[in-house]
């Protein structure tokens, strides 16, 4: 309402000055038409005389110019009947001033948005606003789901939101509901497996792996689940199965997909571990680590990923000593996860190692 206060104050000042100018003082009745005309011709006469005196104008020319001027003055005197206008009309002034106020206030009431405050960017907490929006949306859906727990669509929508906010247990609960309410598909099983994996701190062993295997049975060409299976086999040291599954996975793609880089690295690692002839490293060597980190980097930048994966990438970059890349990864992670609450671990890691939060 302060805006109305200021608006009315502004109107009052404007109207007061208008009224004062028009009606509040006696009219100074100079500058009538005849006066102005006479003044103009006097100035012209002076100009001619000055030019003549300065030698810019000959005597004959000056005389004839003055003659022209005199004839002009005579003619205008005949034409100008300088009836001085009346000086009444105070009522008209009052009416005009009142009309201004009414017009302005009425138009603003129609067009304006007095309820909206100004919102300069500097005064806004961008991170919180983004987070609040998401939280508010989740609240709304949760309320609805509490009333209609069989709403498949609702669970489908809320699950990724939970994941984005790092609420993996809730995400697992939601995705279990999705799998109960509709016949499980390779995708829904894999989604659940991923959520469980994140809830377990990235470990695939156990239920997630079972889910991925089920998904792979449901759809033998399902890439995401087979990727996790092969990865887990590699990690667990089951290199025979790993080589078989990596090859099968690579056969599904054209080879230029973002995941193909990691798959090829995994395959190479498993093959090397299998081949007793080669100097099979029990641990991946530096070049391989670098390749795997690069693969992770490429995948996160193109497909995105969990905040844990981003944190892993940033940490790996710092271990490699590539601080610029670490900074770039950190920037990208901040962009992908604007909500500071989710990034606690990453932010601490970054701050400890001198990365800048831009």
């Amino acid at each position: 309402m302060t805006i109305w206060l200021f608006a009315l104050l502004l109107t009052a000042i404007a109207c007061a000055t208008l009224y004062y100018a028009g009606a509040g003082r006696t009219v100074n009745a100079t500058a009538g038409t005849a006066d102005a005309v006479a003044e103009h011709f006097r100035a012209q006469l002076r100009a001619i005389e000055m030019d003549a005196a300065a030698g810019r104008l000959g005597t004959i020319e000056a005389t004839s110019a003055k003659g022209e001027l005199a004839r002009e003055v005579m003619r205008l005197k005949d034409e100008t009947s300088d009836a001085r206008p009346v000086t009444g009309g105070k009522a008209a002034i009052v009416a005009a001033v009142g009309l201004v106020a009414a017009l302005a206030v009425g138009t603003y009431a129609y067009l304006g948005r007095p309820d909206l405050p100004a919102l300069p960017l500097a005064s806004r907490d961008v991170a919180t606003e983004n987070g609040l929006d998401l939280n508010a949306a989740i609240k709304t859906i949760e309320t609805r789901l509490a009333q209609t727990p069989d709403d498949l669509r609702g669970w489908q929508v809320i699950a990724p939101a939970y994941i984005q906010l790092g609420r993996y247990t809730d995400a697992v609960r939601a995705l279990r509901r999705v799998n109960e309410l509709a016949p499980p598909t390779a995708d829904t099983q894999t989604d659940l497996g991923e959520a469980l994996m994140m809830a377990n701190g990235g470990s695939v062993a156990g239920e997630p792996l079972e889910l991925f295997r089920k998904a792979a049975v449901l759809d033998p060409k399902h890439i995401r689940s087979r990727y996790y299976i092969a990865g887990e086999e590699t990690r667990a040291g089951d290199y025979v199965a790993a080589v078989r599954d990596w090859n099968a996975l690579l056969a599904l793609g054209k080879g230029d997909e973002p995941w193909a880089v990691t798959a090829k690295q995994g395959l190479a690692f498993a093959e090397a571990a299998l081949d007793p002839g080669a100097a099979a490293p029990a641990e991946p060597d530096a070049a391989q680590i670098a390749a795997m980190v690069d693969g992770l980097d490429a995948r996160l930048k193109s497909e995105g990923g969990s905040i844990e994966e981003w944190t892993r990438l940033v940490r790996s970059r710092m271990v490699e000593g590539r601080m610029d890349d670490a900074q770039a990864a950190y920037d990208a992670a901040r962009k992908a996860y604007p909500d500071a609450k989710l990034r606690t671990e990453l932010d601490v890691l970054a701050a400890d190692n001198g990365l800048v939060a831009k």
Binding site: A23, A36, D51, P120
Partner: protein
């Protein structure tokens, strides 16, 4: 809250304007109180619109995206200058700028017009207020810049990258000051028609306002042309684009008005003609500002338009322009015409000049509107391009340039053509000599170009000859001539400078068009190419990060007569919109320029590079700047001057 207060201020200003217009038109011959009310109202309008404009700027600078306009046309990463210029880099904001200049003019009339006859002042301010009310109302109800968004977005879209340039800070304000300045002449003309009297004060007022507006319009057009030249990336400086034409027509009409107002001030003649030109000039200014926004014309200047807006604009234009001409048709015969003169005289020369300029404006208008009319009536689409304009416009301007130097030599009222021709012989000889010399030295072939060059030199030397003649060099001693030269009124110098500027522009246009060299090629890093006597070497291409764009910068070395210089043309991609722009690199050698544009990468790792050498191209704009400076110089000479007739015969006196 500042945004809403700004909104309210704009509304209050429009309300004051609406009431002032009605009060002034209804009561101009009833009460002197009305005049006082309106003078105060004009000043209030200015203060309030300035406040509204300030509120918009503040919202843009602080990236307040709760303002829809800021969200749509600004971005938090833009540099400060471009945040400010974003305010008028769009339809709604530019309307506010337009109105702000309009109310500034109104306030200036109010302040400086203290001594004007009250009735005249009332009518003039009423017309100004009517314009503010009409176009302010249009802004508020169809293009409101103060619309809000709730919830407010976190980030804005971006100002069109082509507009992210210092040019946007200069070009529109100059151009609008020119356009809108003519509104004062228009209002004076309408006031004269309504009151049925052309006051003597009228004559004194119209010339300075015309001059001021004309100077700004000249600079605005020149700046726009130079901006297009360096930003659009293909080295052209005039495109006969409908919007360029729209700014050029009021300039032509305004130039005619300027000369006509001169006659009126000095000789009390050509009054009705001046009124007519004042109406035409401002009508063309209105067309220039609004034709692009009505959606009937499309060009690089088009802002997003919607049908309601277009319709309202057309109605407003029809009312103001049609109303003014109707008023002229009814009332002009009642006005007294003023002084007489012989056909061969300074007055006659100025009329001839005006006819040429008016015809040129009509030709441009025809070329701009004809395709629209044809499409509207027959459905056929044609495009009228540069060849039409160059031919018709050139054909009209060439004879004008031929006779131009004669004008200032003529005596008022009754001139002697033969005597003038004799006095111009020196200038003509010098012009022929210079043109022939240059063509011979550059080895030019026989074509129109040497003739064009001759014309340019003729106009330029003719302008100087006038000063030489008036000072009496050759007829009296050197010392006395110099004293006379120094003693000449400033308006003589401004006439000479303005006409000299015309000559400069003509020379620049002819030289840059006829003798430009162009090279389009693919270059590998380290490779060199030769254009004229300049050797261009591509050293490499770097990737740079700007504040809100990523750029590829070509590093070139240019070796030649002007020494070795570095040139860095860029290709930019703006982050928010993903829009690419090219930034040409320009090196100036004397009056000539080397123009370098970095193209796309070719398959073999090279770069497409476009190079132009444009001889004397800067003269085009320097000539315009000289004209504008001449205008300002003339403005400083506020002494009233009477054009005295040189010889009055008994016959001429009897004719009056």
């Amino acid at each position: 809250m500042s945004i809403e207060l700004g909104h309210f201020a704009l509304i209050l200003a429009v309300a004051i304007a609406a009431v002032s217009a009605v009060a002034g038109l209804a009561g101009w011959n009833r009460s002197e109180r009305i005049a006082l009310l309106m003078r105060q109202g004009a000043i209030l309008q200015f203060l309030l619109v300035a406040a509204a404009f300030g509120a918009l700027i503040q919202a843009f600078v602080t990236s307040d995206f709760s303002l829809k306009l800021a969200y749509e046309h600004s971005h938090s990463l833009q540099p400060l200058l471009f945040k400010i210029t974003s305010v008028w880099g769009n339809h709604e904001g530019s309307m506010v700028l337009w109105i702000m200049i309009l109310v500034l003019m109104g306030a200036a009339v109010s302040v400086f017009g203290r001594n004007l006859p009250r009735q005249l002042l009332t009518l003039v301010l009423a017309m100004q207020s009517l314009l503010v009310a009409a176009f302010g109302g249009f802004t508020l109800f169809t293009s409101n810049p103060f619309l809000r968004l709730s919830p407010a977005p976190i980030e804005g879209q971006e100002l069109n990258p082509i507009l992210q340039d210092i040019g946007l800070a200069i070009h529109p304000p100059l151009l609008y000051t020119g356009y809108v300045g003519f509104s004062v002449c228009f209002s004076f003309a309408i006031a004269a028609l309504i009151s049925g009297r052309i006051d003597a004060a009228w004559a004194r007022w119209v010339r300075p306002w015309t001059l001021l507006s004309w100077c700004f319009l000249t600079l605005g057009i020149a700046m726009g042309s130079y901006w297009a030249y360096y930003e659009l990336g293909w080295g052209g400086w005039w495109f006969w684009d409908p919007v360029e034409n729209a700014s050029f027509m009021p300039w032509l009409a305004g130039t005619a008005l300027l000369h006509s107002a001169l006659v009126m001030e000095k000789r009390n003649a050509l009054k009705i003609w001046t009124i007519f030109l004042a109406i035409i000039t401002f009508s063309l200014s209105l067309l220039g500002t609004f034709m692009v926004r009505s959606g009937i014309l499309t060009s690089v200047h088009s802002f997003a338009s919607d049908p309601t807006r277009g319709l309202v604009i057309l109605v407003l234009l029809a009312l103001f322009i049609g109303g003014a001409f109707a008023l002229f048709a009814f009332r002009a015969p009642a006005l007294r015409a003023g002084g007489l003169f012989a056909p061969i005289s300074r007055e006659g020369a100025l009329i001839l000049n005006n006819l040429f300029l008016a015809t040129a404006a009509a030709a441009v208008l025809t070329g701009t509107l004809y395709p629209l009319l044809l499409e509207a009536t027959t459905g056929k689409t044609i495009s009228v391009g540069a060849p039409f304009f160059s031919l018709t416009f050139g054909a009209i301007m060439a004879p004008l340039l031929v006779v131009l130097p004669f004008g200032p030599f003529m005596a008022w009222k009754r001139g002697d053509l033969i005597a003038v021709t004799q006095r111009l012989a020196g200038a003509a000889g010098a012009a022929v000599f210079a043109a022939v010399l240059i063509v011979a030295l550059t080895g030019g072939s026989i074509s129109l170009a040497p003739l064009g060059l001759l014309l340019g030199f003729w106009v330029a030397f003719g302008a100087i000859a006038e000063l030489v003649d008036r000072a009496g060099f050759g007829r009296m001693g050197i010392g006395q001539s110099v004293r006379r030269l120094v003693g000449l009124p400033r308006t003589s110098f401004s006439t000479a400078l303005a006409h000299f500027g015309v000559g400069m522009s003509v020379i620049g246009i002819v030289a840059a068009t006829a003798w430009q060299a162009e090279l389009v090629t693919t270059m590998q890093p380290g490779e060199s190419q030769t254009i004229g006597d300049h050797m261009v070497t591509l050293n490499g291409v770097d990737n740079l990060q700007g504040e809100n764009f990523a750029a590829e910068t070509g590093r070139f070395t240019v070796a030649g007569s002007g020494g070795t210089r570095q040139m860095m043309p860029e290709r930019r991609v703006y982050e928010a919109s993903g829009m690419p722009t090219t930034e040409a690199a320009i090196e100036t050698y004397g009056f000539s320029q080397l123009y370098l544009q970095l193209g796309e990468a070719s398959a073999d790792g090279g770069r497409v590079v476009r190079v132009w050498y444009k001889p004397y191209v800067t003269l085009i704009w320097l000539g315009a700047v000289a004209m504008a400076l001449a205008g300002f110089l003339s403005l400083t000479d506020r002494r009233l001057r009477v054009g005295a007739p040189r010889r009055v015969t008994a016959q001429a006196a009897a004719a009056e």
